[in-house]
Symmetry: C2
DNA sequence: CTAGAATTGGACTGGTAGGTCCAGACGAAG
DNA sequence: CTTCGTCTGGACCTACCAGTCCAATTCTAG
């Protein structure tokens, strides 16, 4: 726990996390073995347990953190610049492209499905990701509202929550059915409705 | 495979499936053991493998089918009677109540997370559930459109897809954060926007 | 240089749980 | 009653893999 790692140690630790993430991305969580990670990263059991005393669970949590960060950073800079309708469209396209590229394997979703949801650590990573995501959406919608492009009486927080839900569901449906149209529909319908709420065109 | 089961045999098979489903609901997939199912259902290994030659995977798939059916039947009769705004509201309330009652354990989601998504069987169950669900939503929205309560130019299929995505995401967010507000927001925003699209109040 | 801590290698352990097998009980049909 | 197929009990097998342990080595500080 105590961050008493040397530079070399931290590098090894990071190598293990990234190797584990790659292993999951390439081969799936079902066949995820600690030994495979060791082979791929050229490390040994003792190293893995040295840096992750809680073993597999702790490693998966670290992978989850890595993937969670990536989810948001992959949407940047668009996500933080939702200041016009074209900007919304650019962000929408980025999201669709990201998940289209990712295909049927959402590493984050996969990792969480394997983690015990009841542990505070796993819960925290998920909650934090969603909180940040929604907060960016809220900021964007609120910006448009102040610019008069969205109805003044619109409940921004609720709209952002609904949009976030739509995105999550769209991604989930893509994972289940292999079809990205639900994600596109969720994004497009949400944006359309925001625009339609504007007082005067 | 071949339905060469006697009445007694089918009963045993069903007992096993229901016992497995209960086991998952009560104790979670993480600690789901074949032996526990046997103990609970008073059956033996040979019986389980007699009725599920493919073992655990096949049993989980049967549980998934059971839970998938329940998802839709729990929404009836409201889901099939989306013929007025109050009816939409009643259905909305039913969905929220259902997932509120279910709490943090969505058996279907849990089972699927454990199943190999690449197998056609697992894929089929999920796809079929979503297809049916969306088809009911489409029917409801289309009904309102014919009644003039929804804009004639609205893309019904797309609206239904977005609504379904919102629901799925709302449920997922509830599982992650323990908070049902996203599900409520997704439902309410979707319904509000449908109503708002109406030509004249 | 030296001491102590951090890092590393890899053999070994141990519990688990999915799956196999066969002998025997049961039940339907003739 | 006999026969054949279905159904059942439960002992046994065994592959697997997370986690342990300790000795060896390499850093870092003074």
């Amino acid at each position: 726990m105590a961050a008493t790692f040397t530079r070399k140690g931290s590098a090894t630790r990071q190598r293990i996390v990234e190797g584990a993430a790659a292993e999951i991305r390439e081969r799936g969580i079902a066949v995820f073995r600690l030994d495979d990670v060791l082979a791929r990263t050229k490390t040994s059991k003792s190293q893995l347990f040295h840096y992750f005393p809680q073993g597999k669970e702790e490693l998966l949590l670290a992978v989850a953190r890595l993937e969670a960060d990536k989810v948001l950073s992959d949407q940047q800079p668009m996500l933080s610049q939702l200041t016009s309708w074209p900007a919304f469209q650019a962000w929408r396209d980025r999201v669709v492209a990201r998940y289209l590229a990712q295909g049927q394997e959402c590493p984050l979703h996969i990792v969480f499905s394997q983690l015990d949801q009841r542990t505070p650590g796993a819960r925290a990573v998920q909650t934090e990701l969603m909180r940040k995501w929604q907060s960016e959406l809220t900021a964007g919608i609120r910006h448009m509202q102040r610019a008069g492009e969205v109805a003044a009486e619109l409940d921004v927080e609720r709209a952002a929550a609904a949009l976030l839900a739509g995105i999550q569901g769209g991604v989930l449906l893509m994972l289940m059915t292999g079809d990205i149209t639900h994600l596109e529909a969720a994004l497009d319908v949400a944006i359309d409705n925001l625009r339609a709420s504007a007082p005067a065109a």
